[in-house]
Amino acid sequence: MSTQIGNLDQDKLLQIYYQMNLIREFEMEIEKQFMRGKLYGTMHLCIGQEGTAVGAIAALEPEDKITSTHRGHGLSIAKETDINLMMAELYGKATGISKGKGGSMHLADLDVGNLGANGILGAGQAHAVGAALTSKMRDLGYVVITFFGDGASNEGAVHESMNLAAVWELPVIFFCENNQYGMSGSVKDMTKIENIADRAVAYGMPGHIVNGSDVLEVMKVTQQAVERARKGEGPTLIEAKTYRWKGHSKSDPKKYRTSDEEKEWIDERDPIVLFRNKLIEDGVLNEEQEKKILQKVKKAIEGAVEFAEDSPEPSIESLEEDVYA
């Protein structure tokens, strides 16, 4: 049995497979809990985008940083935030990663280098520039991946950030998860050019297009960008073509797209199925191992729900805490 694909060993490959499944199951679980009225507000599910989150972050070292998006549960999981704390946060509990004050849209975990999801599109790209500036000015050696969508790619702040990162030669990777829609707006209607990666030339940085359903390709392309950034050669723009299977948020009837289109992405380009097939074909994964991995995922999710449900609500006394340092 082969234990390797390219230069990735079996442990790493199975870790990637585990994380992709953990993200999928986490999202399915919270959707279920939302329907049951256990979760409040809204949420943006990333089912279908597991290949981009896990593939890109698999190219990083633990000390590297990311900025996340409002559709960022998968990014948090890939950057290895404790899912118990994430789940508790979605439940609004005192034990949540943000003590129940941030919710789904503001998941951050500075301890693992996640500088935060963001409710404002385009804001995180500027933060990534600043975090990379810290790395460069203090010679800390870390790189930053900033994630954003096709929708955010039309925000002015994204363009300013790309130009800043380029002129200051900062270790940033601008990673566009092009999931085809900014809420209801199709990228075809909102962007004149076909590929967002083509904009890289305007900022004097390399641009790459990658198949977001192929987790290993995402990882490989990101690794090249990370290497370039770490050598002090500056930023890269990567555009991954992907798809969010679910609506924009919990109130979206998806009137702006066809079920044929959805079916094509779901049936033919599921990043988890494609990766699983490859692992089996290449002899990295067998049925028994798969069963074990899925069992581990199930247990982790059940544990997170239990942790969240058993956790206390935040006290009203905590309301005015943490406004100022």
Binding site: K65, T67, G96, I97, S98, K99, G100, K101, G102, H106, A108, L110, D111, L115, G116, N118, G119, I120, A123, Q125, A126, H127, A128, V129, G130, A131, A132, L133, T134, S135, M137, R138, G156, A157, E160, S161, N163, L164, V167, E321, D322, V323, Y324, A325
Partner: protein
Amino acid sequence: MREITFQQAIRESMSQEMRENELVYLMGEDIGVYGGAFGVTNGMIGEFGKERIRDTPISEIGFTGAAVGSAITGMRPIVEIQFSDFLLVTIDQLVNQAAKMRYMFGGKGKVPMVLRTPNGSGLGFAAQHSQSLEAWLAHIPGLKVVQPSTPYDAKGLLKAAMDEDNTVVFFEHKMLYGMKGEVPEEAYSIPLGKADVKREGQDVTIIATSIMVQRSLEAAVQLESEGISCEVIDPRTLLPLDEETIIESVKKTGRAVVVHEAVKRGGFGGEIASVIQESEAFDYLDAPIQRLGGRFIPIPYNPELEKNSVPQVADIIEGVKATIYRS
């Protein structure tokens, strides 16, 4: 004691801090060789180099956001926004990001950033380069807002702002840059949230901010010759606000006039007036609180029109008299 200008005091405060703390750096438009639009950073690039006196592209939202990102990862940036009107271009990063991060992240992380910016009218720059927008920012939980009125205060308050672990917006009135005053050579700190009684008096309390402190002091001198004794209080920081000093003064005088250059409607004077009337000072009031502020117009270009759009010494005298001769 030696006298230096308001502008020199700010530069000296930053330079002293940068010599002490390598995490502090400055970022903004034309702050390098050019020395900043008002010359505040003049010569600093020679001492600190272009890494730490960092000229930026004209991308206010981008570089302010970069400052936020560098602050939350351990640096202590000072951002110069060339005119405070351009704050409106940075507003997402200030209001939605810097001010809220710590709270949204459950008390983790801090954004120790100072955003310095010239505000105010008086130089003929018209509607988009002359505003006073401090009330917008003093409305935002998570920010701190500072408005020095003298060279001494500017140096000490800026030191406190640079030592803060929160985001501070530091307004520098353009007409004050050339003002001279006594300033110690060594670094010193004036705590944020501590008002200063600029002049003691018995008959009326004038609470004034920024350049209006100077105009109020001038008015107080003239009023004294007419037998009216004015106490002039400069809050120095709007957020946090030293309510106690204001309330104690109004309890003593029984009369209050609030003066700022910003448009009166929705201005911070309304907040100060409310603080007074919600406090025990209400029982001591002998007349309604007077508010003086800019007219409800964009700042015009013509010098006479410009002058008439914001309170002048004569307006303050009139406002004080209206309070005194009522009742």
